[in-house]
């Protein structure tokens, strides 16, 4: 009797600790959310006070309320979501093509050293070209539709991914290569079972810097020339023509949120795929 009493006592103690843990985690999340809300509202308040206090021309810096109103109108009219869809589509398609090409070429060059020797100088030269300066050419080649925007995104992404992946594929140690040779791995096995994994952290590092750049490229391409599709960059141009600063600010806020989201996505993916490489 005493035994069972003791046991159940311990059990309830355990579940109490678990409950404590859960409430404390929830409290932690609420705490963070609360702090962020205060920071956000504080920032908006300071912004509002500055604009009012100095009587800033709303065409130069709009008040936060004007920006929120603009954001609201863009949202309910559906314009914003169409624009997000178009710009994100350009970014994602460009990312997939650019990263894909970069990785494929990196593997080819690292496996066929003679090709690497031949192409290296061209790669270095092309890499040095400011890609945005090529955008007008892309407009001539691919027209004013999505293709020219995707081309700019691809050109921005391609080189960091290529260069990093090549460095990654060469980052194997002599001992690892010796292990694969001792167990008579074929060239293909060495590539997919060793080099690919060694290169993975390098590839993700390239993604981390270039995905947000890809979004920028997508928007810049629209600013430089756009057709009938209205993406976020085109939206900025339209508001600009109307001297509607509140609208521009609204789009900038959306872009900043998208940038942060893309970055978070890469980080989450790298945590998922590189769990083994994190020191414990």
């Amino acid at each position: 009797m005493a035994m069972t009493g003791q046991k159940s006592g311990r059990m309830s103690q355990l579940s109490a600790t678990l409950a404590d843990l859960q409430t404390s985690r929830l409290a932690g999340v609420l705490h963070v959310v609360g702090v962020r809300m205060v920071q956000l509202l504080g920032g908006l308040l300071v912004w509002d006070l500055l604009v009012r206090g100095f009587q800033v021309d709303p065409r130069i810096v709009p008040s936060p309320l004007d920006v929120l109103e603009s954001l609201w109108n863009l949202t309910i009219s559906g314009i914003l979501f169409d624009a997000i869809r178009i710009t994100m589509l350009q970014t994602v398609i460009g990312f997939v093509i650019g990263a894909g090409l970069g990785i494929v070429l990196a593997v080819t060059l690292s496996e066929v050293k003679i090709l690497k020797l031949i192409l290296q100088p061209y790669i270095v030269a092309l890499q040095a070209v400011p890609k945005v300066a090529v955008a007008p050419l892309f407009l001539i080649w691919f027209g004013f539709g999505m293709e020219s925007k995707i081309a700019l995104v691809v050109s921005i992404l391609f080189f960091p991914v290529l260069v990093n992946t090549m460095a990654g594929l060469d980052a194997t140690t002599e001992e690892q290569l010796e292990l694969m040779r001792a167990y008579r791995a074929t060239r293909w096995q060495t590539l997919v079972r060793l080099k690919a994994y060694v290169a993975l952290p390098f590839v993700f590092a390239a993604f981390e810097v270039s995905l947000v750049l890809a979004l920028t490229a997508s928007v810049v391409a629209e600013l430089l020339g756009s057709g009938t599709l209205v993406g976020l960059g085109t939206l900025i141009k339209i508001f600009d023509a109307r001297m509607n600063s509140a609208g521009i600010f609204a789009v900038l806020i959306v872009l900043s949120v998208l940038g942060v989201a893309l970055h978070a996505l890469v980080i989450a993916a790298s945590h998922r795929f590189l769990a083994w490489s994190r020191p414990l």
Partner: protein, 267 residues
């Protein structure tokens, strides 16, 4: 040829390849352009199914000779025969445990052990799993199959690499200081496990070590190497009866052989 060892006298089929290192010289070029004579005209034979240890001071060329036997490195002069074939590339007969564990950090322990079989692609999945389980048990890592190398201690990693070397049941086993990072008790356990495997499969074993007692306990013969230039300077037959059991470590003959070898190692 050396005297037939007890197990082959019992009439077991001896199909493991003998090793013949014939007048092997190895010269390394350093970055500064100097030449290092790592091995000079080194010759020795290891019979089929024989267990031979190599001892010698650090830098005397033990790992180098093992790499040349494994077909991972070319001799500057001379040749190695595995069975009747001249070694030029790594042979499927060989299982090898390197001085460093060299585990692939993205693979869980079980997949690291299975690697040689997966690369070879001949064993069925179920057979691989069963064998990995047995090897995990043998190296006392039962239950650690799902862990990643980064979560293991140095000694645990080394045991994984030993299990990996045994994965394909190689008929020639090359081991470079495989138990260097193990504590004394685990090391003695591993000695008996290794001897059990050796007795069962009778592979030809080249076992490199700094531990003289370990060499005496395990081997049929102990080769002593000297450095500058690297070469074999003595060949000591270990005439202790088999199967060897831990109590043999207390015997006078065991101590005498150890002392004899110690006296031969230059320092």
């Amino acid at each position: 040829m050396s005297a037939p060892s007890p197990a082959s006298a019992q009439g077991q089929a001896a199909k493991a390849s003998p090793i013949h290192v014939s007048a092997v010289t190895k010269v390394f070029k350093t970055r500064t352009g100097d030449e290092v004579l790592a091995l000079a005209d080194t010759t020795f034979k290891i019979a089929s199914g024989e267990f031979v240890s190599i001892v010698g001071p650090s830098g005397c060329g033990k790992s180098t000779v093992m790499r040349i036997i494994a077909g991972l490195m070319e001799a500057s002069k001379g040749a190695v025969l595995l069975g009747s074939k001249v070694v030029t590339t790594p042979s499927p007969e060989i299982g090898i445990a390197f001085q460093k564990a060299v585990l692939l950090p993205w693979l869980p322990v079980a997949r690291n052990i299975a690697l040689p079989a997966e690369l070879e692609g001949r064993m069925a999945k179920a057979e691989i799993d069963a064998r990995v389980d047995r090897l995990l048990e043998m190296v006392r890592l039962k239950g650690a199959g799902g862990r990643y190398p980064g979560e293991l201690s140095g000694g645990m990693q080394q045991r994984v690499s030993i299990a990996r070397a045994l994965m394909t049941e190689p008929s020639v086993l090359l081991m470079d200081e495989p138990f260097g990072a193990l504590d004394a008790l685990t090391r003695e356990h591993m000695h008996d496990e290794l001897l059990a495997i050796w007795a069962a499969n009778r592979p030809t074993v080249v076992f490199i070590t700094h531990d003289i007692a370990e060499a005496v306990y395990l081997s049929d013969r102990v080769l002593v190497m000297a450095s500058r230039p690297g070469r074999v300077i003595a060949d000591v037959p270990i005439d202790l009866p088999r199967p060897r059991t831990p109590d043999i470590r207390g015997e006078a003959r065991f101590a005498k052989l150890g002392a004899e070898i110690r006296a031969l190692i230059p320092h």
